[in-house]
Amino acid sequence: MQNSINIKIGGPAGQGVKSIGLILDKMFMRSGYKVFGYTEYPSLIRGGHNTYQAYAGSESAFAQKRRLDMLIALDQGTIAAHQDELDDKTLVIFNQDTLKVAKTRGVLLPFPINDLIKKADGLPVMANIIALGAVCFLSGLEPEILANLVKETFGAKGNEMVKKNTACVKAGYNFAREKLAQYAIKLDPPAKKEKQILVTGNEALALGAVSAGLKFYSAYPMTPATSILHSLVHWAKKYSLVVKQTEDEISAINMALGASYAGARAMTATSGGGFALMTEAVGMAGIMELPLVIVESMRSGPSTGMPTWHSQADLRQVLHASQGDFPRAVLAPGDMQECFDLAREAFYLAEKYQLPVIILSDKYLSESMQSVPAPAASWQNKRYGFANADFNKAAGKNNEQPFKRYALSSGGISQRSVPGQSGGAYLSNSYEHDEFGYATEEAEMAVAMNDKRSAKFIELAKEVGQSRPRIFGGQSADVSFISWGSNKCPVLAALDLLKEKNISANFMHVNYIWPFPKEAVSQFIKNSKRIINVECNASGQFAGLVRQETGLKIKENLLKYDGRPFYAEDILTYVQH
């Protein structure tokens, strides 16, 4: 028996690698397993080498693993490209009618796919579906679950197509049952059955944002942030959202800030290059004290870099973007659940502290799939910081004089009015300003306003500081990892591998990056016997931040910057050697 299964599908773009992968993931999820799906693809529309990896676990699915239980090759290149991921037991499934496989690791399972398709009255394009049926049997899952998924997926194409696809599923399933039964993998049953949903990080973020009362979203398409725009535009009618694709990222953020000024909860999203264009307006949100949620989903850089590949090299960019000093918050979700939770948190912090909150995601989170417990159906939201949160009513009694929008007070948070409210007229100003918002160059007022904004950061740090970074694997261990963002996925998977090897290890996951959780990080590092910083960039940006904030230098840095995320095995190998 084994408690997880790891399957990869490989083929050229346009052959439905991703859609088949999605069905595979859902098949496991609906069977009660925890699921993680990871995809790799080049920046083009047709051709190239695409893969989808489905990992399912009976107890957990933190991340895909390197070693494959099954490889489904839709083209010749797939088998050669993934030799390193195969061992003697890996089942290699391929079409014996179209592929010639000379030498490979693993157990070769040639399928007479053309023949099976013919008998099932299917179409040549359904080779994938035959493979799906076989995987279903070889993983010990109920074929009805797969049949239902096929019906849902192809239902829109008409009954005839559903019939053909269903027949192909059966053909694959039956062929495997009759001829390949000895290769079937004995997978533990799911440990706990609960209602789950399967989401990408981007979908989880979009869902979290909608639940938090997002009303205005403006963005310009940029991989890997684009699918947030796709989700939101798809839901715009249902949730009464304004979703606007703008002429560029500069327009996107300036428009979102206009909407925020007018009182709507607003968000924009982009990748590193688009964020660079937004930079000037990030500072405007700072000085105008406008709430804004900005998602920066990192990809390989610098410059255009490798557009469809993973990286975590924009940490310093988001921490320092824009001229001048002003408070901001940076949150880095570690998995799909955190994408949802931190999106909600971002809207709360942005509105309460009246500042830009950056959610730092990456390609790995944005486009991978993970099953999470189904979130609650209904969500409550409060409004913060308005002189009168009923926008139909007056913000103040006096409509003859400007409203003191930037009133100086301890704690730095001052009340807002929104346009249309009587007694609330003021100037929201990108220039340094007085308490009404009018421009000032007076030394004393400049200091007072800087101090006002800084005070908000101190309050924010107090509140955020309470949510200490989480430690996994116990308070003390022989090996300690510290990391941030999406590395949570492979590091948690690595903790399991280390446990199997009897190596005691723990892990501090930092997801509230700024304000920085100084004390917790400092204490964790001081308590550790061997501390290893894990991140996906070349210069150890997080390690630098740790040193800046705590004075502690981490000697061991496990860095990766080849466009691929860490695999649990990489981390295990590093620890052992």
Partner: protein, 276 residues
């Protein structure tokens, strides 16, 4: 009613005085109280007006304030939104927003203080400065041809295209009133003398070189004739067309403005079905 306590700092004789006066008198004639309109400002001498006008204001980034104006309108479409901006900001730094917001027909009235100079940074040429003009950054004369904002707007789907003159406040006031009343994007390019950095185009020069259009045309091609007149500058409304404004095409905005929609309780059950 629309004055703050701050005294305008425009140079004596600056065209901005006339534009400010026209704007305030338009607000008055439109019967808008200070809390019933939003004015966005860019960066430049013109936009220093932000401190002198009492109303809801948004003093944004150089060249980028009109996207903010569009965002404000989409968030609360019951409010008239007026954008104050200069030629350097709208036709140069923010050129892409000029092209794209116009064709989207966002319901924003954009008043461009066109003095053909970057005046606040001390007199450099802009994208509307005439060819061969000598400025601090073009000692041998400007090499480029100037942008013709009226002609560009006419061929790029703007639904209200007008030009005013800062020296004719009454006429400009009427243009602003028409622009605000117009449902959709209105461009009001204003010929603005800069008495410090642009000696060539003085009040007297403009008075000699402008002529008044009788009424708005309904055909873009006919209107282009006046827009392309190289000898004299036409002022007035070149073209006007009735067409749904951008915000009128959004299902989310049919019932009420976005900011008045309740977010206290959100149910995500429906979308979660996609992920089961």
């Amino acid at each position: 009613m629309y004055n703050t306590k701050i005294k305008p700092t425009f140079c004596p004789g600056c065209g901005n005085y006339g534009i400010k006066q026209a704007l305030q008198s338009a607000l008055e004639q439109l019967d808008l109280k200070p809390h019933q309109a939003v004015i966005t400002y860019d960066v430049g001498c013109n936009s220093n007006m932000a401190d002198f006008i009492y109303a809801y204001g948004f003093h944004g980034l150089h060249g980028r304030s009109v996207p903010s104006a569009a965002g404000i309108k989409l968030a609360n479409h019951k409010l008239p939104v007026i954008a104050i901006i200069g030629d350097g900001a709208f036709y140069s730094e923010g050129g892409t927003h000029f092209l794209n917001l116009m064709r989207a027909n966002h319901d924003v009235t954009v008043i461009v203080h066109n003095n053909h100079r970057f005046s606040l940074t001390a007199g450099q040429y802009t994208s509307t400065t005439e060819e061969e003009t000598i400025t601090v950054t073009s000692p041998a004369g400007v090499i480029e041809e100037p942008v013709n904002p009226i002609a560009v707007s006419l061929v790029n789907h703007a639904t209200f295209v007008a030009r005013g003159f800062a020296g004719d406040v009454k006429h400009l006031t009427d243009l602003i009133i028409s622009g605000v009343k117009h449902k959709g994007f209105s461009l009001i390019d204003v010929l603005q003398p800069c008495v410090i950095w642009n000696k060539e185009q003085s009040y007297e020069w403009y008075k000699k070189n402008i002529y008044y259009l009788k009424k708005a045309d309904s055909k873009r091609q006919r209107a282009l004739k006046d827009a392309l007149n190289e000898k004299k500058l036409a002022v007035g409304v070149f073209y006007q067309e009735n067409k749904p404004a951008y915000h009128e095409e959004f299902p989310a905005l049919i019932k009420k403005p976005l900011v008045y929609q309740d977010i206290r309780k959100i149910d995500i059950r429906e979308v979660m079905k996609e992920f089961g």
